[in-house]
Amino acid sequence: MTWANILIQGALVGGFYALFACGLSLMFGVMKVINLAHGDIAVVAAYSAVFLVPKLHVAQLWAFLVVVPLFALIGYVVQRTLLQKAIDRDPFTTLLVTFGLSVVIENLLLEIYSANGQSVNIGELVAKSWQVNSVIYVSDVSLVVLGVAVLVLGALQLFLSRTSSGRLIRAVSDDREAAQLCGANYKHVFGVAAAIAFATVALAGIAFGISTEFDPTAGGINLLYAFEAVVIGGIGSLWGTLVGGILLGVAQQFGAHFNLEYQTLAGNALFLIVLAVRPQGLFGRRVSLNE
């Protein structure tokens, strides 16, 4: 049954998109920053897993144990130094700076590692799949990624709603000045949000590197998908991002069913339709898409 296959494959890739997107969503929610280099950070994480982690005598399968905390630290530092300076100017500057960073990162990767496709090597695990019936195959990797995505989103949600740091992040997202008046160092809170964003997108990058071949320009298309997932699901809602990712995945599988060339286009079409009909997304708060 092709319909079931479309839905299942769509849901599986949707989990991946959601993992990609939650950092983007967080950075926008907290700092009102759209990090155009978001996708490229994931790609850098994937390259780190392939080239740098083996130097530490760690198998690429366990790369995330090293890469994720490292990227959390990098995220905090980049936010406190470069991005904060851009934010202090105005949103315009922040957009231009993150775009500039994106281009610089992509071209640096191109220079250092060339345009050849790479893959995170986890041996035979990557090919294992679970046969549901004669038509439907569920790849083990994508199932694990979906599971990880749900876990990460759940953990993030709990963190934000139950812990005092999470509460602070929500307060700063709501009203930065009022939070300052409560003694919150908003720049530090921004740093923490960026750290979380970088860590989750690094995880997504490694997952990406495991499932597909990647090259320096892969960041762009993933930013696009992450962004579409956030907008479709609704800004400001983490679970909405998961739903958005799944819907995007399903739409893409649907398009691919007719013609492989239509895959991305079908996703773009859904995105544009949501934009036209319900700009705040499915579960969006009444936060406008205007800055």
Binding site: G100, N107, N268, L275
Partner: protein
Amino acid sequence: MSDTTLPQSAELPLLVERSTFSPIYTLVGTVVVFAFFTAAPWILASSWVSVLSNFFVLLIMATMWNLLAGYAGMVSIGQQGFVGLGAYATLYFAIKGMSPFVAIPFAVLACAIIAYPITYLLFRLRGGYFAVATWVIADSAMLLILTVALLGGGTGKYLPGLTNLSPSELDHDTYLATWFVAFVVLVATYFILRSRLGLVLSSLRDNETAARSSGAKVTSTRRLIYVIAGAGCGAAGSVLAISQPFVQPANAFSLNWAAEMLFASMIGGMGTIEGPIIGCIIFFVLQQSLQNLGAWYLIIFGAVAVVIAIWQPRGIWGLIRDTTHFELLPVGYRVSASSLSSRRRVSRDAN
């Protein structure tokens, strides 16, 4: 904007003028520049001519991007969509038998027609969301073109209609096409910014809320600028197709165009006409000097743009203007109090 307080005595007559020097100089200068660049194929070496060709293509794009972002406040990372559409419209008309050079204005018109309805969707967004949406649209345009076999699909196609010219004739004609289009675009931009539309744009650039409340038609102005920018980038794509002349989606719709036009405007100075010119010059100097080092020119260009955005947001031209108060292509107004006896000018630049 530099401002010093006007002298206390309001009895001094206030002078409102458009520039620090007489418009005659601008006119003469323009004629000289036009003559020089038109004669370039016969004056300069052919390698220079082809560099100039590429320079003008980028200049068109940067000027348009600057109009969009620096004046109307819309940051787009999707103008490469119009570059590609312009290139492919030219290809289409050429396939249908039109001379590619004649096809240029038609390609421009096609881009304008496509840009207009897009604004109704796009303008629901602002800021970062607007920017990414422009990219989604550009990406979609490329994906759509990829499915059209007539236009060569993913592999690309040679632009027909150029084979009857000798190589040097072709180079000359291509160069002249890019120069004339660039000249028209620059002159048009200059007049737009000098006009009332330009005043609205400047006020948009400086303070949107104030602009709205003073009655300026913000949305229709934005729409007009978006269409103009789309048409302008289409023109760039059109002459790009002619100069290549192998038209390929990955090249015509490349995000690198977005990067280059953006960085050139940022480094040169946004919100000015001279800025993109300077930015493009710097770009080509960088590109020519780092020719053999792959993508390093773009890495450095991007890094410089990031540094300038944070530490010198008015760009290089902004720096020059702040220190010398010199306007090459004046579009603003100067209000000054001039006294007959002393030549001391206390003025407030508003532009």
